[in-house]
Amino acid sequence: MAPAQAADLRPLVNALGEGSYDDTAAQINVLAATGDPAAAPVLEALGEGDLYVRDSDGAVFIAEQVGRDYRLTDPLTGEAAGEAGRREVSKIKVNNKLRRVIRSALGALTLMSANAGTRRAAAEAIFKSGDPDAIELLDEAIAAESDPAIAAVMAQARAVSVLESSLPDSDKLAAIDILASRGGQDSLSILTAAAAASGGEVRQAALGAIATVEGELAIWGLAQDVWYGLSLGSVLLLAAIGLAITFGVMGVINMAHGEMVMLGAYTTFVVQEAIRTNAPWLFDWSLTIALPLAFLVAGAVGIVIERGIICFLYGRPLETLLATWGLSLILQQGVRTIFGPTNREVGTPSWMSGATEIGHLTITYNRLAIIVFSLAVFGALMIILRRTPLGLQMRAVTQNRAMASAMGIRTPWIDALTFGLGSGIAGIGGVALSQIDNVSPNLGQSYIIDSFMVVVFGGVGNLWGTLVGAMSLGVVNKLLEPYAGAVFAKILVLVFIILFIQKRPRGLFALRGRAVEA
């Protein structure tokens, strides 16, 4: 609390110790009229009878009896203010009339404060503990409340208080209805307590309300699982979308794909390190800076790989698989040699931390950012493939290499660029994945199998298939998890994919062709 405010309130607080009950009552109202939340603890202490006046200078303290003496606390700052003998202080006496005045003054300070946040906080505090004495005050506050959202919280707080009070059953039934419509875990525990404490009609109503709330919670739980599933799906999409280009469009089985993701993540790490040492104020922009760099690094490595190795292996997909696996080992070991085998710390920019609640759904900003980002990458890739000359040439080369070459397209160059694009996208995915996973040399390995599953499940050569495949595998995985456990859910998904491939050997959205050996 600012000292200036304390200074303003000090004479008013000290005035509490002077005069008769009526003077004190008037003084309480003056204090309440300041609307300063710092006055609330003073009034509470007064209501409890803990407020004392020091006889020597008339200063007012919260005092606690220790042995024969009193330990004094400053009522405004909460700081210790030494000790005083039994005869040096005298208690500020309160009667019932004064207690009522204090309670309504407190209500005015909190529930009827001019600040909406204070009012909401006060109502929520009562909701958590329940206070039968506050019912009258809540009624007044609800009548005066202009914000319907806060009024609803107040009504709920009143309902909790009613359930704890000795009011007639009809009031309690209404309260149960209010709590049932609020729902959520906290209402559930209050209703359970109410059902246990009461009997007859109220108990029946409470049990009914518990069933309703549990049903709602189950639906919200399902929604939460779907949300987690979409979040996992977007991670899979980011990991797999580059592969959808190199494997799906070009037919190159790139086992080093995971290492492109890893390179992207390490690029993020290097960028953040550089920012930390040179320009700390840029930290919130570190991911934005890392994105193009990760694309360039992974893309360049991709082009080198394509020109150096893969271009000699076209038409021999199984050999490509082996060579790229070898590359992935070399890249992993290279990163391990340079950066060490342990996890590297990649920070989260401030705008990505935190969470919001929609209903009973908790949505963390970093997951939300990754979902949005993955869809943005997907959209950008779609536009590149459909709307740019490069995309046109890519599709031409993959559909009919000889004809494309005859039309003057430099197919080797397009091959290199396509591979670079797929690798670069994987690097971008790595920037996002560095936010939710450990940045270690093994980062890529953990995604490579999942990525292949997504691409094969979705249908090779079809980006929409990759999107649908990633999202559905993510959601199915998370929906199974509550019943089967995380590991078993994953096993089930793998078995499902194996069986699915039997049924549709070319994936969910297969490209139709007339060739026997498509």
């Binding site: 021999r316 199984l318 698989l321 070399i330 026997v516």
Partner: protein, 384 residues
């Protein structure tokens, strides 16, 4: 009589040479280990016996992969699963042999079950106290899994890359499953701390020698079987499937049946390799299912020479010898560079592997083994 003909067809001078070497190895190494005095130049130290035995089981595993990849064009990235399943079957037998000598002294339950507070043996462990049953399971379990997997996959005409990827999914799923404690196979730690096999102390030099001999003889037998299969009419259809699957089908062959038979045979061989591997290294754990292991097997075959039966044996021994040499020395951090480089170099510069290239140089294609003389995948379209 027919069987004798079948094997005689596969037995040319080359196969005879390989088998002779293996039999000589089976006899000589244990004898030199047991009877040559430690200071004589002919003495074979015990660790070398175990190491050689391990290499031989790897060679058998590589041979099983080559049978399907080199001669039928099925690239399995999950053969480590069959190897590990055979190993687990043997490991379960060895666990039961520990009896009451375990840490907890329970005569019935292996230590990890006592630790998990299990009261009785799960039904999956029934019968594994008998060697013949375990030996049967070593072949049957991988064989049955391969049969079920191949039955569906080949009938649905899942080929090429797609098949490779779902075999990888299979071994990955098994990896995850075997990591779970409640599956009842020791979870993360696997099965270890074996005491004896068929009543002989598993640590004794004589037992190690016998295991090496068994591995060498198993490899020789498998080599003979594979040579016979490849040289037979059946084997020629396999090569036809490898080079032009659709054309073979159009000619009236039931391609899926040919593939299924050789696939199950290969899985059984891999299972036997695993069963011989486990007592020699003394442990089996879920990491054997790791997809990376299965890919490594394929590299042994590629380096040695795909489509030749000698190649995978040479490749497995060479690569693993290099691995041992590298990872035990100061060069350990660079092993992955070497292995990775080996992958790349073998595919770029030695598409036919060491043995294939040598055979090609020496015989100029005239009298070479049919498969070795050709490029591994003559028809690029067929492989896609």
């Amino acid at each position: 009589m027919i069987l004798a003909r079948f094997f005689a067809d596969g037995l040319d001078w080359r196969a005879g040479f390989v088998i002779a070497v293996l039999v000589a190895l089976a006899v000589a190494v244990p004898l030199l280990n047991l009877y040559a005095p430690p200071d004589s130049p002919f003495h074979v130290p015990t660790y070398a016996v175990s190491l050689t035995g391990k290499y031989l089981t790897y060679a058998l595993l590589a041979l099983s992969v080559d049978l399907i990849w080199g001669f039928c064009g099925i690239l399995s990235l999950g053969h480590g699963a069959f190897f590990a399943l055979g190993g687990y079957a043997m490991g379960m037998y060895l666990m039961r042999q520990i009896g009451s000598r375990g840490v907890y002294g329970n005569p019935e339950l292996p230590d990890f079950m006592v630790f998990l507070n299990w009261k009785e043996l799960p039904f999956t462990w029934y019968g594994f106290d008998m060697f013949w049953f375990a030996a049967l399971m070593v072949v049957l379990v991988p064989g049955a899994l391969a049969f079920a997997f191949g039955w569906f996959a080949f009938r649905s005409r899942v080929t090429g890359v797609y098949l490779s990827i779902i075999t990888q999914a299979m071994t990955y799923a098994l990896l995850l499953a075997f990591f779970r404690n409640n599956l009842g196979f020791g979870g993360n730690n696997g099965l270890t701390d074996f005491k004896d096999i068929l009543g002989f102390n598993i640590q004794a030099d004589a037992t190690r020698g016998a295991l090496l001999a068994a591995s060498a003889l198993a490899l020789a037998a498998a080599f003979l079987i594979c040579s016979a299969v490849v040289a037979s009419k059946f084997g020629r259809v396999l090569v036809a499937v490898r080079d032009a699957e659709s054309r073979t089908r159009f000619l009236g062959y039931r391609v899926e049946n040919y593939k299924l038979v050789v696939w199950v045979l290969s899985a059984a061989l891999a299972g036997i390799a695993g069963a011989l591997y486990v007592p020699q290294v003394g442990i089996i754990n879920p990491s054997e299912f790791a997809p990376a292991n299965s890919i490594e097997i394929v590299v042994w075959v590629a380096v040695g020479g795909r489509g030749t039966l000698v190649g995978p044996i040479v490749g497995a021994v060479l690569v693993n010898f290099a691995k041992t040499w590298f990872t035990t020395g100061a060069l350990a951090p660079y092993w992955l560079f070497v292995l990775g480089g080996l992958f790349v170099a073998a595919t770029l510069f030695l598409p036919r592997g060491i043995v294939g290239t040598l055979a090609g140089l020496r015989l100029r294609g005239r009298h070479a083994i049919p498969a070795a003389a050709e490029a591994p995948t003559p028809n690029p379209q067929a492989a896609e």
